[in-house]
Symmetry: C2
Subunit: 204 residues, 2 copies
DNA sequence: TACAGATGTTTACAGTGTCAACAAATATGT
DNA sequence: ACATATTTGTTGACACTGTAAACATCTGTA
């Protein structure tokens, strides 16, 4: 966001490309994104972005990483702001996760999109995504240690939860919950999430 | 699959296109599919497919519908072949669902892919996908009626399960469970699924 | 047999990702 | 300070894509 010189050099083209790209994606979806359009948005030649990104997949990978970092941040934040017990904290981070997906549907889809699974050096991306996953994992680990949750491999339990939340996020984005109004949606998601958490509570 | 005349007319180009396309998708993913490549595979001019499909999205929509029908069939079949109680039958259909995703990962991804959500007259597609969902819904409805499951809106419970299974399918496809060998994977999925079902059992 | 509709082909256009060769701006070492 | 190396941007090109328009051929029916 620093516009200093209207000259030959742009100043921070890499960042500007990422910003412009994510805006286009939010509007039109990932599929329709073209690097040339991004370049046009920035008033720069069509091959200029290639000085900063190896190819289109590279740019998308960076956007996905940004997304995972933001997601991790927001879910972690939600647990910190939470005074209640572990169950409340798990619910809070789950809802924060779903909230992210709700507000950035196309970004979320990009993060799990097919292109990146096939093409990018996915090691980096996988690591970043695991950092988002680790928020859940930490909570579950505590829960198992405290005997609050079922005595089982925390990783498995965390993955179970993650699957549910991810599935809910995807189906929501895909419009399968569209019969719910905005106010109805949150309680609906909360109820579903509660049932999932219930499944891994320690049996008394 | 009927090859009769090596002449001007192909015989059943529409079907042949669908077959060729799904093969390519299984190999290279949806993103890389081009109609022109399909036409080349079939030794036909690049615009010939347009006599049978309005556009690329149309072809993909039909493939997605095929996928949903196949999925519905296989999950239903799994419940029919199942002698045990409701819980066993729910597990069986869930595992059949995951099995479909495992064996047809790219097809599954296509079914929930972004392109179709944005572009096609998705009414038809949504209906087809709901027929796959209805397999779960029926089981859950019975379970609620029998008092075997939590007394709550069956649709909500079914959606909770569907979210979990869908999330598991997606994460599996995306390689997040790749540390498990083929033999380990099934028990792992079964355990996760069990936890999810547990969450909606009637509290005794 | 003539004709109508279905099915394929040729040609063409605009858009894309990306490469190679070149040019301008900036940074760096003396 | 200036010459040079590096970074950054531009121009032009290529191969590929989806798809529209005009034309050709086949096939079933009156």
């Amino acid at each position: 966001m620093k516009i200093t010189k209207p000259h030959y050099h742009h100043g921070d083209l890499a960042c500007a490309c990422l910003d412009a790209a994510i805006k286009r994606i939010a509007r039109d979806g990932v599929e329709k994104l073209s690097l040339r359009a991004v370049a046009r948005d920035l008033g720069v030649s069509q091959t200029a972005p290639y000085r900063h990104f190896n190819d289109k997949t590279h740019l998308l990978t960076l956007l996905a990483q940004q997304g995972f970092n933001l997601l991790a941040e927001q879910t972690k934040q939600a647990t910190m702001n939470q005074q209640g017990g572990l169950q409340e904290s798990m619910m809070a981070s789950g809802m924060a996760y779903l909230n992210f997906a709700k507000h950035h549907p196309e970004h979320y889809r990009l993060m799990f999109g097919e292109r990146l699974k096939r093409q990018c050096d996915s090691a980096d991306l996988t690591n970043t995504s695991l950092s988002a996953f680790s928020v859940i994992l930490e909570q579950v680990t505590v829960g198992v240690d405290q005997g609050f949750l079922v005595q089982e491999d925390p990783k498995l339990l965390a993955r179970t939860l993650w699957s549910t939340v991810h599935g809910m996020a995807m189906l929501m984005i895909d419009g399968f919950y569209s019969e719910y109004s905005d106010e109805e949606l949150t309680p609906f998601l909360k109820t579903m999430l509660t049932h999932s958490v219930t499944g891994i509570l320690a049996k008394t």
